[in-house]
């Protein structure tokens, strides 16, 4: 309990990640209930109203409560270590933000317990589904409060991390010598500090609209909500993606025993990536006829350029390296590269308005964003956990269980999400509790539901692995992977002040420099 009041960035970061993973588990249980209902046509487990609440809170929990916080938790733990800092700037603000965040998901979930149930508007909270006429009950208010608090926490963590990167870098750690993960946090924080205040204001305006006076009920208000929400929510997808993508890049470098190829180019690419991703929000509004579809199609398609540069860096790093292919972090990194690639390529297709016109609001869209968010964020996060778990705990995760986890997770990912492309092309609409028993629909839905159960089993294997390794895992030592960046230059887990002494920093891979100098 006393530890929960800590201001140590490592404890705050770990507490944030653990809390976020608890919310992830809750969101996952909601997903299993949804897939259970959709396994066969007809209504079996849930009624339509409860289904609407579940898909709303599943999406909201995963995208708004779990994902942004877990990447910030990762940043809070790792960034000071990577830049050779003893602590973050404003440690109390980081702790303050954790206590804003911790109850935010519970507040949102409390909607299930109050009269008339939780929010039913989808995670995007489209107006007027959220107004006081459509949803007069408290569950919607609790959704607004939960999202407001969690995003406020992310904004504050972003400020803490940016100030830390600016002020606390070790001697010799110039900006271009910062590891790629830290650079990805810089790009992430730029998006957070510019777009999160907008959604905070929009949520306050929505609350006022519901309780005091007209805001979005004015002419054009519903579209204005979408402008404001998507202006935040599209960069959000990259906020939850960049840090784990960079963690994957570090895994590719470490497990190929080569420094990251094109570090400087990758840094510029991630900044361009962030700018483009903040200028594509209108592609969510192609059907509104209220934005310039050509512009948003252009910017959305252009994102493939910096994304390709990052992928090229992955491949070029491995090329000619002595790759440790079957180490579990590497297996998850490869899984990330494959599953996110499917999400990214399908994104190029739906960035074209004529194609989007055909597949809008179908399961093609659901498949696309699950491949990007599960294939990107969750696969990347698990990669990061397998990579940095020894640093956090001083113990190694079990490799055999890790391989089972990777195999089951890959099978579950493909089996759950691929059928949605087929179902979407058949014409199955998203966010509906039931569907007609037309040829192929029941079979593909059943495959997807079985896949979701496989995914759940894979995470049970992961939980067992973490539990066993914490108790009986092999002792890791400071640098079990022959890492490249400064976090591997200190004990595992690091002491309160992080470093007793720091090696000289002459590049973005200082420990690799030392090893190369010694041979």
């Amino acid at each position: 309990m006393v530890g929960a009041l800590s201001t140590d960035h490592k404890r705050v970061g770990m507490a944030t990640m653990v809390t976020a993973l608890v919310y992830f588990a809750g969101g996952g249980i909601m997903a299993l209930l949804i897939r259970g209902e959709l396994a066969q046509p007809g209504l079996q487990l849930l009624d339509r109203d409860l289904y609407n609440q579940l898909f709303t809170l599943h999406g909201s929990t995963m995208l708004l409560i779990f994902a942004p916080a877990v990447v910030m938790g990762l940043g809070l733990y790792m960034v000071p270590l990577q830049i050779g800092a003893g602590d973050v700037v404003w440690p109390r603000l980081a702790a303050f933000a954790y206590w804003l965040y911790a109850p935010s998901g519970l507040i949102m979930w409390a909607g299930f317990a109050v009269k008339d149930g939780a929010a039913r508007s989808g995670w995007h909270a489209f107006y007027p589904l959220t107004d006081a006429f459509q949803q007069p009950w408290m569950g919607m208010d609790l959704w607004i409060i939960g999202v407001f608090l969690s995003q406020l926490a992310v904004l504050l963590w972003g400020a803490v991390l940016l100030a830390t990167i600016a002020r606390r870098r070790a001697p010799g750690m110039t900006l271009l010598r910062m590891p790629f993960f830290t650079w990805s946090m810089v790009a992430t924080i730029f998006m957070v500090v510019t777009t999160y205040p907008i959604v905070e204001g929009a949520l306050v305006a929505l609350f006022i609209d519901r309780h005091a006076t007209s805001v979005f009920t004015l002419p054009g208000g519903a579209v204005t909500w979408q402008y404001l929400f998507w202006f935040y929510a599209h960069p959000l997808v990259y906020v939850i993606f960049f840090p784990v993508m960079a963690a994957v890049a570090e895994v590719f470098a470490t497990f190929s025993r080569r420094r990251l190829f094109g570090h400087r180019t990758s840094v510029i690419a991630v900044l361009v990536f962030a700018a483009l991703s903040s200028s594509v929000w209108g592609h969510h509004m192609f059907q509104q006829q209220d934005v310039d579809n050509r512009y948003f199609s252009f910017t959305t398609t252009s994102i493939s350029v910096p994304a390709s540069i990052e992928y090229f860096a992955f491949v070029a790093t491995m090329w000619g390296g002595r790759v440790r292919l079957f180490a579990t972090p590497m297996l998850f990194a490869l899984g990330f590269a494959i599953t996110f690639l499917i999400g990214g390529l399908s994104g190029i297709l739906v960035a074209s308005p004529p194609i989007d016109n055909q597949v809008h609001d179908t399961y093609v869209i659901v498949a696309h964003f699950h491949y990007t968010i599960f294939g990107g964020t969750v696969w990347g996060l698990v990669t990061a956990i397998y990579y940095w778990f020894p640093k956090w705990t001083g113990r190694m995760l079990d490799e055999r269980l890790g391989r089972w986890h990777a195999g089951l997770m890959f099978l579950g990912t493909v089996a759950t999400f691929f059928p949605w492309f087929v179902l979407g092309i058949f014409g199955m609409r998203r966010e509906v509790a039931d569907y007609p028993d037309w040829p192929g629909w029941a079979a593909w839905n059943l495959v997807s539901s079985i896949g979701s159960a496989v995914l759940a089993v894979s995470f049970l294997v992961f939980a067992v692995n973490v539990w066993r390794s914490l108790r009986r895992g092999a002792v890791a030592g400071p640098d079990p992977w022959d890492g490249h960046s400064l976090e591997w230059a200190t004990a595992s887990p690091p002491p309160r002040e992080n470093f007793a002494t720091l090696p000289a920093v002459t590049s973005y891979a200082p420990l690799l420099d030392l090893r190369e100098a010694a041979t």
């Binding site: 009041l5 602590d87 109390r92 702790a95 408290m138 900006l175 252009f298």
Partner: protein
């Protein structure tokens, strides 16, 4: 970090200008895009002007261990927000908890400043 911030702000302004000139971006589009580009440029200028974007001079600094006051202040804010939905009485309780938390934070910060001063000037 003022240079990357300026670079990113300029990129946003270029993308905004592209939308307004080559495409048909409207007033709301321009306000949002130039708004965040300009905001990031402003951050870069402030960081540059105040030196806050530069590395801090080495020297002893505090490593606070626990901060119950930070937790109290945050929980107070949560209660105030919940009160917006559940009633004014929770807002008042939350405001009280925030006051206690802020008072505790002031006390913690003063103690920390004193401790750092004693180390620097024994």
């Amino acid at each position: 970090v003022s240079r990357p911030a300026a670079f990113w702000g300029l990129l946003m302004c270029v993308l905004a200008a592209l939308g307004v000139t080559v495409f048909s971006g409207d007033g709301q589009f321009a306000a949002q895009m130039f708004g965040i580009g300009g905001f990031m440029l402003l951050i870069a200028v402030v960081l540059l002007a105040t030196g806050l974007g530069e590395r801090r001079a080495p020297g002893p600094h505090a490593l606070p261990d626990l901060s119950p006051a930070a937790a109290a202040a945050a929980i107070g804010v949560v209660l105030v927000c919940l009160g917006a939905a559940w009633g004014l009485w929770i807002v008042w309780i939350g405001a009280g908890v925030v006051a206690v938390g802020v008072g505790g934070l002031i006390r913690e910060l003063r103690a920390q400043r004193r401790a750092v001063r004693e180390v620097r000037e024994p």
